[in-house]
Symmetry: C2
Subunit: 611 residues, 2 copies
């Protein structure tokens, strides 16, 4: 099956707009006139790196003014926001691309997307010589495009030989010390940056990189520091389409930049980069088919940046439950089970999901405060939290601080891969190792830890030792039955680390733990294994393999010195005295009752997870 709705859509769109024959190819230098007016390519690349392209999406052309956005990003990285703002303002001029638009008193260009501003921006690139600046710039393009770039020498020479207006602008900028050094070097780099060869797919990738917070979604390489990305997108949004910028935001609704080579790149932050290439320009210098195609795509898919859902607020809480309803996987004895059912409401779990932005973090805080009214322990799980914004982490840090001050214990789980966020949270709350913020990998480990705090000193049968009569499976045995049953059992001891049984062993033994603790471990490939649960004195195991007459599905390992009584079930089955028959029946019934209880717990857990 090879159908793709959006690829089909783009092909149809391309066909229908190929008939649009408005505008003129740029003619201010003869080289641009060599472009085939019929060239028409569309490309879209998502933040997941999926590429869609149709038509002449691989045709090289000169980037022209689109380079201004890229250079602006370089200038920010090399100088910081404040220094760049001192040289170039960020207000729309309301005028055409070649307007001079300098601030009357300072000589500062109105914005970096008009020629005056772009020339001033080039002057801000690190590098002593024109060559150094150019190298710095081309290196940046390499990271955006995942390949090296070349300059169209003919276009460059032509730009250089006809660029008198730009020379005049550069001297005006030099005159007011906006450019502080030699204007020729700056102009040379400016003419070269306009002559860089790109394809429509390249532009989409530049857009996708900006949409993806500055990381190239195909190579995974960071191109621009994430805090500069909104700055570049802001000037694209307010000034990127010359004196069509207002209408573009109104109708298409994405930060964008166009060039007289016929390219347009538009960015939907967090989603994709979209590029159209077609050389015929409208009276404002924007690609006519480009504008039309972008309008259509935006309107067909409701892509306006201000057309949003309700953030992810309603779904940020993936699941919330307490330990009474979803206890840890640790197998407890009857008394401990009863205590956890009774006290489990003091341990609340909030599983988060999706993006944690301001409003969704606000919901988390609200839910956590509600939960903390009843709970003493709060487990916040980040496993499914795909993104945590810079503000959200300080809100969560504030939450932890407030709750800690009120004597609550907060545990963060699923934080693997969110190291930066956790580091920030720890820093903000002034974390020290003796603080009650605990950082677990798995919810289950955190749950078990909290349960252990609840049980500490409460359980009447300690985890260390339990008599045989405390066993769940032997409920309602008469003294006589108990005596006969005990006589059938074999006493065994195991040292720490010893295997009680191994995966694949025949399942004919039933173990009753008298003292110590064992772990149930499933061997995985490559010598790895996974702990399923732990069992302590008072618990029994082996009943499922016994019922199924199957083999052991896991290893059982002694966590410390362990003593137990073992029933060979076959031996019990061979006895047919009325007493033995009654023991068999009671044992089977008690096992059934225990399984019914576990099934009820599992059903509750499924319900909690689905809620």
């Amino acid at each position: 099956m090879n159908v793709n709705y959006f690829q089909n859509y783009l092909e149809t769109l391309h066909q229908s707009y190929a008939n649009l024959d408005k505008g003129e190819v740029a003619s201010y230098i003869p080289e641009l006139l060599k472009a085939d007016p019929q060239w028409f390519g569309i490309a879209l690349i998502t933040v997941d790196g999926h590429v869609y392209q149709v038509g002449d999406s691989r045709q090289p052309f000169t980037i022209q003014s689109i380079s201004k956005a890229i250079t602006y990003g370089i200038a920010l990285e090399d100088n910081g926001v404040e220094a760049v703002l001192q040289k170039v303002d960020v207000e729309p001029s309301g005028e055409a691309f070649n307007s001079i638009s300098l601030e009357p008193d300072t000589g500062r260009p109105r914005n970096p997307m008009i020629n005056a501003g772009a020339i001033a921006t080039v002057a801000l690139i690190n590098g002593e010589s024109a060559d150094d600046k150019l190298k710095r710039m081309l290196k940046c393009y390499e990271r955006y495009l995942g390949r090296s770039v070349t300059i169209d020498e003919d276009v460059y020479r032509s730009e250089k030989s006809t660029g008198h207006r730009n020379r005049a602008i550069a001297y005006l900028l030099r005159n007011s010390d906006i450019i502080e050094k030699d204007t020729d070097d700056v102009l040379d780099v400016y003419f070269k940056q306009c002559s860089i060869l790109v394809t429509c797919r390249d532009l989409a990738l530049i857009g996708a990189t900006l949409a993806n917070n500055g990381v190239n979604p195909i190579t995974g390489v960071r191109v621009l520091a994430s805090h500069y990305v909104p700055k570049v997108l802001s000037v694209m949004s307010s000034c990127g389409m010359y004196d069509y910028s207002g209408a573009w935001v109104y109708e298409v609704g994405m930060p964008a930049k166009s060039g007289v080579g016929g390219g347009i790149v538009a960015v939907l932050p967090g989603q994709f980069g979209l590029a159209v290439f077609s050389p015929k320009l409208d009276e404002r210098g924007n690609s006519a088919r480009g504008i039309a195609a972008c309008k259509k795509i935006s309107s067909d898919f409701g892509l306006h940046m201000f057309r949003t859902g309700r953030s992810t607020t309603s779904s940020v809480i993936h699941a919330s439950y307490d330990a009474a309803h979803v206890p840890s996987k640790r197998t407890r004895n009857v008394e401990q089970g009863r205590l956890i059912a009774e006290l489990g409401h003091k341990v609340m779990v909030l599983e988060l999901h999706g993006e944690l932005m301001f409003t969704s973090a606000e919901i988390v805080i609200h839910e956590a405060m509600v939960a903390a009214k009843k709970a003493e322990y709060l487990i916040i799980d980040f496993t499914r939290a795909a993104y945590i914004s810079e503000g959200a982490d300080s809100m969560i840090a504030g939450l932890i601080q407030s709750l800690s001050e009120h004597g609550k214990t907060i545990l963060l789980t699923g934080t693997w891969g969110k190291y930066e966020t956790i580091k920030l949270i720890k820093k903000r709350i002034g974390y020290t190792d003796d603080m009650p913020l605990l950082n677990y990998d798995a919810i289950d480990d955190a749950l078990e830890w909290c349960e252990d705090q609840l049980l500490a000193g409460q359980a009447s049968y300690t985890a260390a030792e339990a008599p045989l009569v405390a066993q769940n499976f032997l409920i309602e045995f008469t003294a006589e039955e108990m005596e006969v049953f005990e006589s059938m059992l074999e006493h065994r001891s195991y040292d720490e680390g010893a295997y009680l049984c191994r995966e694949g062993d025949p399942g004919d033994l039933l173990y009753f733990l008298l003292s110590g603790q064992v772990s149930v471990i499933v061997p995985l490939s490559h010598r790895r294994s996974r702990r399923i649960t732990s069992l302590s004195a008072g618990s029994a195991f082996g009943e499922i393999a016994m019922l199924d007459r199957g083999k052991r599905s896991a290893d059982i390992v002694a966590d410390d010195n362990v003593t137990c009584l073992v029933l060979d079930y076959k031996q019990l089955e061979e006895q047919s005295s009325p007493l033995a028959m009654c023991i068999r029946w009671k044992l089977a019934t008690n096992i059934g009752r225990d399984l019914a209880r576990k099934l009820r717990k599992a059903t509750l857990e499924i319900k909690s997870l689905r809620s």
Copy 2:
């Protein structure tokens, strides 16, 4: 416990910026000078309707130019986008608020946020007379604010008596037929709209309504059609802060509007409305403390509209599994269970989560295409899909169409409350009742339907009838045991709709279904109930209540004519012959084995849900 991180944050912020003493109270009319220069309020309202406010957030003041954004929305609703654009353009003027900025040839104001554009916008409000227009406008404010509004008569008279420049503008507009009727009426409404009394909290609510796609998040009332919301936000973004608009987007990054009364409202789409009120204005006519406070909040919480996560792409698939791992809750007999385990991979479930925007919908399509390579039935669940964008629904419609053409069956579940989306999808694929798109409420119903398709003609025991020997619980019974056991059973018949037992009945009977089907129903409050599962011939029920010696936890109702054999368990327990003892033991063991199998299924389901 009454701690709230963000409320505390706002209070601290308010304290520190109360010391900022820059700017001047507006003085072009004497009434505005009566404002206390120390007034300072901040309010933030989220799209979930949570309200935060500090300082003078309840102090009334005149809305002034912020009314321009509201009136622009009214004009769009009354005339549509095209007609409004013919009268007022949407380009930033790059000039001050009172600049005249008319297009040279048409006389069209540059945008609706400068006085000329706002006056032209007032002329576009429906209504023959000034009174009609005013009523229309005040009605709109009522919906934004959830209360009626009043006009400050002193300010209004003062605006009217000094508004000569605005009168000049109105005549210029009349001269070029931008205003087509009497200018006095238009100006009167314009002066009145500037004099509407609002509080800082009111402005935050207006912002929250725009952030919430046009629905007031506190009252739930729609104020503005959702497709006009991005238009209003676009003009606020490009022109809302006069000749500070570019820098505002650059530094604060939210569509916003300010007024000379000292108010500023900013909108973070999908998240919240933020308002600051403080009467001292900077040289551009924006509240000085307002600008400073908004900058600080935006920077502290990373709220710039172009600072995004990676959309919700990575988490849009909440869970995906097949019927072999998570079968329906329908209880099947052994043969059917075996078939579903074998064929269940042909039924795939994709549970969606969060926002379905362009890129996340694209992921869904990709995942669905992968799933459809193996599966014949695809269940797409929308229960957790909080928002489906206009473009995403056509992408999903395209997916359904493609897969249907390839012979796949698509079922949509959890679509309750998403009626509009489903209607659109059905329309786009040209849905007719005989098409294989099935619309279920619950995943489980859809799963059961798909399983029934898989089983059709395959299962050797039909659902209609099954002999006693086919019962799971009677495996390994000898012929003699079977005979004795059958003699203990009572034959019963039930008509369609009859109750086999009711919730709360004593649980001492075990039912073996011979023919027909029953449903397990849990009664809820208010005469409602929920179907848990259905059982068909060959199944048994009542074993858990029997094991627990508890009461029935559900009603059992005959779906059609039902025959069954019933065991009174007490009667079995009274018999102590070796044969009876053996039957008791085998029955208990078989029940245990069945529960172990169900527990294994539940554990798999939990694992699938947690994956």
